[in-house]
């Protein structure tokens, strides 16, 4: 069993267990990590589960699809390593992954 670290905008860390096969968004919601809204429930259609992947983990988490990028373009806090957490599936290969949450979801 590995773990995932979510870091809130104010620096608060949440280290939670990986649930194999679930998305990072679902894992965050299941563990009551604040700062993710997930308005569309994981359909890549709203942009409110935005996370910023630690640069060391970019290759492990993969790159955003075109449709994901279009949703990310709607947030002013988008960075080069921004992803929608509903589009990242958790697996053992992500053991230790670190993602940061933006100040706001929109």
């Amino acid at each position: 069993m590995g773990n995932i670290t979510f870091i809130e905008h104010d620096g608060t860390e949440h280290i939670v267990d990986i649930a194999e096969g679930k998305t990072l968004m679902q894992i965050a919601m299941d563990n009551l990590v604040p700062g993710i809204d997930a308005d569309c429930g994981g359909s890549c259609a709203c942009g409110t589960c935005h996370v910023i992947v630690d640069s060391a983990w970019v290759s492990a988490t993969g790159i955003a699809s075109d449709e994901e990028l279009m949703m990310l373009d709607m947030t002013p806090e988008k960075t080069d390593t921004s992803r929608l957490s509903c589009q990242i599936k958790a697996s053992q290969s992500l053991d230790g992954v670190v993602v940061r949450l933006p100040e706001f979801q929109m």
């Binding site: 809204d37 997930a38 308005d39 569309c40 429930g41 359909s43 890549c44 259609a45 709203c46 942009g47 409110t48 449709e67 279009m70 949703m71 373009d73 709607m74 002013p76 100040e103 706001f104 929109m106």
Partner: protein, 467 residues
């Protein structure tokens, strides 16, 4: 070129090709006169006004005769069984002969999400209302543009309603809400729509646009006119009124624009208002020279910020009256306000739909939508879909997953002002709970005639002060 097509061509370009020296509102007036003359020459009749009649029981109709574009479904508050029947029996439904032409209705949550997400299959152009645009007033607005043009325009303005910007404005918005609420009569009937919902929304928009505060009610008036033409939404207004409003908007906002532009040129500090932001962006800083884009985008933001929040402000009060246990729950636990705000927006669904046009043949839920067909995503129905939402007709302020509603749309056209709307409603309810023990709705509210705006024209209430 025949005379007819030549005239058509001239009409289309009359505004685009007018000299930049002619003020936009004069150009719009010119286009309006031209359209009127053209309609006289070709003896064209305008779009007929809707005459109200009693809406029949939906079960007395054949499926093919159900027409949910009827603007009296909301006005007579009898829409629920109509959409329930479509969801249950023909979730993707074709109406061949509506006054707005043929159109498909998409009524289930999952199907709406599919259409909204697939902008490559369903185009938002040229307009997101069910009717057709008035000739001669083909305003460009990004809500009715497809990517990539849409993305550029949206990104230029979305900063004005970004959460960072809203944080700057929260104190001002709160003080204006406090002022409205502090001046309401106690224990005495008054119209909540007029005194609170319209007034607060107009104040908010004036703040956002840095629009002359004493003229704020013009914003509400223009919003009503733009969304209210019979031809577009089945409203009680006319296309003539649309031209007049467009000219007034153009005049007022050109003046505002020029004033801000002069301020910028003088090197003064710019504010966080919409026009300052448009002037600061490379893509939009000369938008004033592109009249149809200028008028289109301003109209979009005026309408987008008006009917929506206004009717959610009224809808929330009505919902808490219809579900009094929820009011008790709220008073016992005001920390439920943010969740309740999402629930209000779902329950009310202040804009009933968005329209698309199929770009190719698409199979959906057993039906074949043909390329070029109009497709209407009825958010108002998807938000009551039993397949996606538990007890959807109930108003539950502590509903789980209350945020998963369709009222803001999904995909690239998702409501840009969603955070502003939520903030306004949150502040309103925080301030209401500080002051009042009860808001009693007296009698039935009056509903708006429209198939697009699901709203209220009047709702009498009586306040009880907090003891």
């Amino acid at each position: 070129m025949s005379i007819k097509s030549e005239l058509k061509e001239k009409g289309r370009s009359i505004i685009e090709k007018s000299s930049a020296a002619v003020p936009i509102h004069m150009q719009i007036k010119g286009a309006h006169l031209f359209q009127k003359a053209k309609n006289t020459v070709f003896k064209r009749e305008g779009f007929p006004a809707f005459v109200e009649y009693d809406i029949p029981d939906v079960m007395s109709l054949e499926l093919k005769d159900i027409d949910v574009s009827n603007p009296f479904l909301f006005k007579q508050n009898c829409w629920e069984p109509y959409f329930k029947r479509l969801r249950d029996e023909r979730p993707v439904h074709y109406q061949k002969n509506s006054p707005f032409g043929a159109f498909w209705s998409i009524t289930r949550y999952e199907d709406i999400l599919f259409v909204d997400k697939h902008h490559e299959l369903f185009s938002a152009e040229p307009i997101i209302m069910i009717g057709d645009r008035p000739d001669g007033l083909h305003a460009d607005t990004f809500i009715a543009m497809d990517p990539p043009k849409h993305d550029v325009q949206r990104q230029a303005v979305q900063g004005v309603v970004s959460p960072q910007n809203l944080k700057e404005m929260e104190a001002l918005i709160r003080s204006r809400a406090e002022d409205v609420l502090d001046n309401l009569p106690i224990n005495e009937p008054f119209d909540w729509v007029e005194r609170v919902s319209i007034e607060l929304t107009a104040r908010m928009l004036a703040t956002l646009f840095d629009f002359p505060y004493e003229r704020r009610r013009d914003l509400a008036k223009w919003s009503d006119i733009i969304g209210g033409a019979a031809q577009l939404t089945g409203g009680a207004g006319s296309v003539d009124e649309n031209f007049t409003a467009a000219a007034e908007i153009a005049k007022a906002f050109s003046e505002l624009w020029r004033a801000k532009e002069a301020k910028k040129a003088a090197g003064e500090e710019m504010g966080f208002d919409l026009i300052s932001m448009l002037l600061a962006n490379e893509e939009t800083k000369s938008m004033v020279n592109r009249p149809m884009e200028f008028i289109g985008n301003l109209s979009l933001l005026i309408v987008g910020g008006n009917d929506t929040t206004r009717n959610s402000m009224t809808g929330g009060v009505l919902a808490l009256n219809q579900f009094p246990d929820e009011f008790i729950k709220l008073k016992n636990n005001p920390s439920l306000i943010p969740n309740m705000v999402s629930e209000i927006i779902r329950w009310q669904t202040p804009l009933a739909y968005m329209r698309r046009v199929a770009k190719e043949d698409v199979e959906l839920n057993g039906q074949t939508i043909r390329k070029g067909d109009k497709v209407v995503m009825w958010y108002v129905s998807g938000n009551r879909d039993e397949r996606a939402i538990d007890q959807p007709d109930q108003f539950l302020i502590d509903r789980k997953n209350a945020r998963n509603h369709l009222s803001f749309g999904f995909g690239v056209h998702r409501c840009m002002g969603n955070r502003l709307a939520e903030m306004q409603l949150r502040i309103l309810w925080e301030e209401i709970l500080k002051r009042f023990d009860n808001i009693e709705v007296i009698g039935e509210p009056d509903y708006v005639q429209s198939n697009f705006v699901k709203g209220y024209s009047k709702m009498m209430v009586r306040l009880t002060a907090k003891s």
